[in-house]
């Protein structure tokens, strides 16, 4: 059991975890945008988990039952498809001025005038009951989107319909609801493909009008502006219905398909509806459909900036507590809006509290007491787990299967700020670095003789061949000379320290006194700069981070694998790495040595960037305090020696001013470099690499 397991209950793994990355890419293929999939707990209030432009909120377990012709993966694929089509069909790109082919226009012309406010916000602002308008708009868009999904994705059709059928289960019966809610429910059911529905006789007319209007959006030509027109009409009907009482009177089955009214309902909107005090509390809440997203701030035009339409959002959150609690007690609005702006993790509710901000040389929570390094081999149980031995210098032997390395992909943070920041701060270094590397790139040319293929005849070989030929012997065909470039392929792995101390700030730059930078940021800049240079000259490189909480939990974060190419995804992962606990360097070195060894390169380099000496919770502590440093250094030194023996040349670079004191013990002086000012790391790393590369 890991030390962390004592502190935090194991989080429930979402059902889509194994496919998380693939589903994210699937979303991107369908709509061209990236997203992160974030789970919410099964018992969570769905209304608190609206999607944003960068996150999809999905239940940890899909609401399907045994007997449904669906797998969990099917359900998630349908949910992601629906959400992707919101993006590709322009749900959030409403433009009131754009013509649409289905309805006589009711949108007021005033909406067409240019305005800094988003079109959707201004449109929704027309309605007296904004929350009701948003719900109607969202339900109608869902209907339009699903109709298009069924047309576009024939291969998914059967699974899509099955998910829709499963979604109808457990919904309230319209016949038991107050009139407005009953018609709203009929609308949602129609959007889920139900063709027959029982409604009170008195509501047959309004239901037919609403559903008939809605079903026009299944037309392939329908656009989001068509949905807006339909919203005006449906709102006109629903707002005119009372939302109390009902649930009695004779019931009749209405065929929703036959009821597809062609008449345009006669609505005259945009007079302020008469509202009674407290009326809003009785307003209808559409029962959410879980494979679809629930309306959030983006349904009132709040995409990434600007102030929210507070009134509308307040009405979308759960009804205020009668005791008069703060309506935003869960911080929903703020979190949602921050999430829209892309600067907050709105998943914080389900995730464990982050560790407190580290103090200098604090290696995370104090777990020492819970860690017993006594014995026990570890086993790798997945394809991303690896077990390595450890050198016990005190006992003078290897401990077999002692450290478990787990690979993980850092969370992807969509932002190109690393790139911009790096280029702003260190871009001036790039041309010189590339030039320096290019100079050492070809290792010269070789003049090759007696080749089977080449530019010129090799005179000696040609004469011999002629002699052979005339003497009746079989001549050699190696009669050419050639000039070949000597190649020196290089593969390099950069390993950056992600221990919690990398969250410390570096001393401010006198030229930019306000800029706050952590050691981690400087490390990121450094590897990002190197990556750009290496891409230009063609060296193979990988970027990894390492951290851990004990021998059974050494984490290697794969930002860019050696055989992966640099892509925006790599930059997003680099942005997503976070400081985390301790520095057990040796297992990471052993893992990366393995990794590099698989590469057919003449030169293999391992560059470890760190901010302090190796340390872990169960790393020599068994021999007493005074042995800790010796134990950790000896193991690290041993791992470096193993690397050298296997043809991987290690280099250490540290921003720890005391680095000289211990690195000298385990490295050749040419193999390590201590930097006085962490801000110099990018430049120093570049210089070190040029030197390392030319030694090749």
């Amino acid at each position: 059991m890991t030390a962390t397991a004592h502190l935090h209950p194991a989080p429930v793994r979402p059902g889509f975890e194994a496919e998380q990355h693939a589903l994210g890419l699937y979303f991107r293929a369908l709509c061209g945008h990236g997203c992160e999939l974030v789970p919410y707990a099964d018992d969570a209030d769905v209304w608190q988990h609206p999607d944003t432009m960068t996150t999809l909120r999905l239940p940890s377990r899909p609401p399907i039952r045994d007997g449904d012709p669906l797998t969990d993966a099917d359900w998630y694929q349908v949910a992601v498809t629906h959400r992707a089509l919101h993006r590709s069909l322009g749900t959030f790109d409403f433009d009131a001025g754009r013509a649409e082919p289905l309805f006589p226009r009711l949108r007021p012309p005033a909406l067409d005038r240019p305005s800094p406010a988003p079109g959707l916000e201004r449109f929704i602002g027309l309605f007296g009951r904004t929350a009701l308008a948003v719900e109607i708009f969202a339900a109608l868009e869902d209907l339009r989107v699903d109709a298009e999904a069924l047309r576009r994705y024939g291969g998914l059709r059967a699974r899509f319909l099955a998910v829709q059928r499963a979604a109808v289960r457990g919904r309230p019966e319209p016949a038991r609801l107050p009139p407005r809610a009953a018609v709203a429910e009929a609308l949602v059911r129609a959007s889920l493909g139900q063709t027959e529905i029982e409604v009170p006789e008195s509501l047959q007319g309004p239901t037919a009008a609403v559903v008939g209007t809605a079903l026009r959006l299944t037309d392939p030509r329908a656009t989001v502006e068509s949905t807006a027109e339909a919203t005006i009409r449906v709102y006109g009907v629903l707002a005119g219905l009372p939302n109390i009482g009902g649930g009695d009177g004779p019931v009749r089955t209405l065929s929703l398909v036959d009821g597809a009214a062609v008449d345009d309902p006669d609505v005259s909107l945009f007079r302020r509806d008469l509202r009674l005090e407290g009326d809003e509390l009785l307003d209808v809440r559409f029962v959410p459909v879980r494979y679809r997203d629930v309306p959030g701030p983006r349904y009132v035009g709040q995409m990434a900036s600007g102030m929210p339409l507070q009134e509308a959002i307040l009405r979308m959150v759960p009804d205020p507590d009668p005791e008069g609690e703060d309506a935003d007690e869960h911080g929903f609005i703020e979190r949602s809006l921050n999430a829209e702006r892309g600067d907050v993790d709105i998943t914080a509710v389900e995730r464990p509290e982050p560790p407190p901000a580290p103090l200098p040389h604090d290696h995370g929570p104090d777990l020492d007491g819970q860690h017993d390094a006594a014995s026990g081999h570890l086993h790798a149980s997945g394809r991303d787990e690896y077990v390595y031995p450890e050198w016990d210098a005190v006992a003078g032997r290897y401990l077999a299967d002692w450290c478990l390395v787990r690979l993980k992909r850092p969370r992807s943070v969509r932002s190109d700020s690393i790139h911009r920041r790096t280029m702003a701060r260190h871009g001036h270094l790039l041309p010189g670095l590339v030039a320096a590397l290019e100079q050492i790139r070809p290792a010269g040319r070789e003049f090759l003789r007696r080749m089977p293929d080449g530019d010129d005849l090799d005179l000696d070989a040609a004469i011999e061949a002629m002699i052979d030929l005339r003497a009746g012997r079989r001549p050699s065909d190696r009669v050419y000379t050639a000039v070949a470039e000597k190649r020196r392929d290089v593969a390099v792995a950069f390993a950056i320290d992600l221990s919690s101390s990398t969250a410390e700030r570096v001393p401010p730059d006198p030229q930019r006194p306000k800029e706050v930078m952590r050691i981690l940021d400087v490390q990121r800049d450094a590897v990002s700069l190197m990556g750009q240079a290496l891409d230009r000259i063609g060296d193979t490189y990988g970027i990894y981070g390492f951290s851990g909480t004990g021998r059974d939990d050494v984490e290697v974060s794969v930002v860019k694998d050696l055989d992966e190419r640099r892509s925006p995804a790599v930059m997003h992962r680099l942005e997503g790495v976070v400081p985390h606990h301790t520095t057990r360097m040796a297992p990471a070195i052993r893992f990366l040595t393995d990794r590099l060894e698989q590469f057919d390169a003449a030169t293999r380099l391992l560059v470890v960037v760190s901010d302090g000496r190796p340390y872990d919770l169960d790393y020599g502590q068994q021999y007493g305090e005074e042995q800790i440093l010796r134990y950790a250094l000896a193991d690290t030194g041993r791992a470096l020696a193993e690397a050298r023996a296997r043809g991987v040349q290690p280099y250490m670079i540290t921003v720890d001013p005391a680095g000289d004191d211990y690195l000298g013990e385990i490295c050749d002086p040419r193999e390590y470099h201590v930097i006085a000012n962490p801000r110099d790391l990018p430049e120093s790393l570049a210089q070190l690499y040029v030197v390392a590369r030319s030694r090749g």
Binding site: A22, C31, G155, Y480
Partner: protein, 288 residues
């Protein structure tokens, strides 16, 4: 026992089969590339074709060579010489070399020399792959001189009036690694190719793979979706050529989803997660 110690055939660069007089290479234009190419040819301005792999560059050159040869009354079989460049290709591979023969040495023209003498279009595919010292021999052919120095023969040959040099490269592929030297690339007019839109790609797939319109359209739609991953640099393509392969398998009775697995999913990436994502898209378009 061989009579001569000639260099093995394999040292000669790969050249394509000659065009067939009776078979017009099918090409569906996506813009004004045909007009541009004709204008360039009229002025004998060398042409650089840029575009992703499998988008139709080679087919376009074949199409143009076929038409230009017929219009000028030249034999179609000599209309085009194609050389696929690679990083071991030397100037000799293009210009020619001496071979040993029982009598001494024989000179063998390389493909470029053949094209220069015969007045063919010479198409150097993926020219960035060639070594930089190799591309330099193209310089005197691509300006007003239109000559090819034959260093080893000690002569210079003047290009046939109908000769034109066409090169291609794919800027997205290993973009940061290999680029044309400015002194080379500024000798060409450039025509940029992209993937065709869904309608055109449908027509191309239907024609080339001989599948029905509905299948062709589904494949073109599938490609349009997957190219969102190309935009994000996650995969390359898929190319129109790959879709034609998938279509051809479908026509031969392989179920569509399976054909996508073997000819598309496996071809665009080796990463398991990306494969799974691509497979999900193919399974959303084609039922299992």
């Amino acid at each position: 026992m061989p009579e001569t110690a000639t260099a093995p055939e394999t040292t000669a660069p790969e050249t394509t089969d000659a065009l067939d007089e009776d078979a017009e290479p099918f090409y569906l234009p996506i813009g004004d590339e045909i007009e541009l190419f004709r204008a360039a040819y009229a002025q004998r301005i060398p042409v650089l074709l840029k575009g992703p792999t499998g988008c139709g560059k080679t087919r376009f050159v074949e199409h143009m060579a076929w038409h230009l040869a017929r219009e000028r009354g030249n034999p179609v079989r000599d209309a085009l010489v194609t050389v696929t460049c690679h990083d071991d290709m030397t100037a000799s591979d293009l210009v020619g070399r001496y071979l040993l023969s029982p009598e001494g040495t024989d000179w063998l023209d390389g493909p470029l020399t053949r094209a220069v003498r015969a007045g063919s279009l010479c198409y150097l595919d993926e020219v960035v792959e060639a070594r930089k010292d190799t591309t330099v021999i193209l310089h005197s052919l691509t300006d007003h001189r239109r000559i090819l120095p034959m260093e080893r023969l000690g002569t210079t040959i003047r290009a046939h009036p109908d000769f034109l040099l066409v090169v291609s490269y794919n800027p997205g592929y290993q973009a940061s690694l290999k680029e044309l030297k400015p002194s080379t690339r500024q000798r060409f007019m450039a025509i940029e190719f992209g993937y065709p839109d869904v309608d055109r790609e449908t027509a191309i797939i239907a024609h080339e793979a001989e599948v029905d319109d509905e299948t062709a359209r589904s494949l073109a739609f599938l490609a349009e979706q997957l190219r969102n991953l190309d935009e994000a640099d996650i995969i390359d393509g898929p190319s129109t050529r790959l879709l034609v392969y998938v279509g051809a398998l479908i026509r031969k009775g392989v179920p569509a989803a399976r054909a996508c697995d073997v000819a598309l999913v496996q071809a665009v990436t080796d990463d398991r997660d990306i494969q799974e994502a691509v497979r999900k898209v193919t399974r959303a378009v084609f039922a299992e």
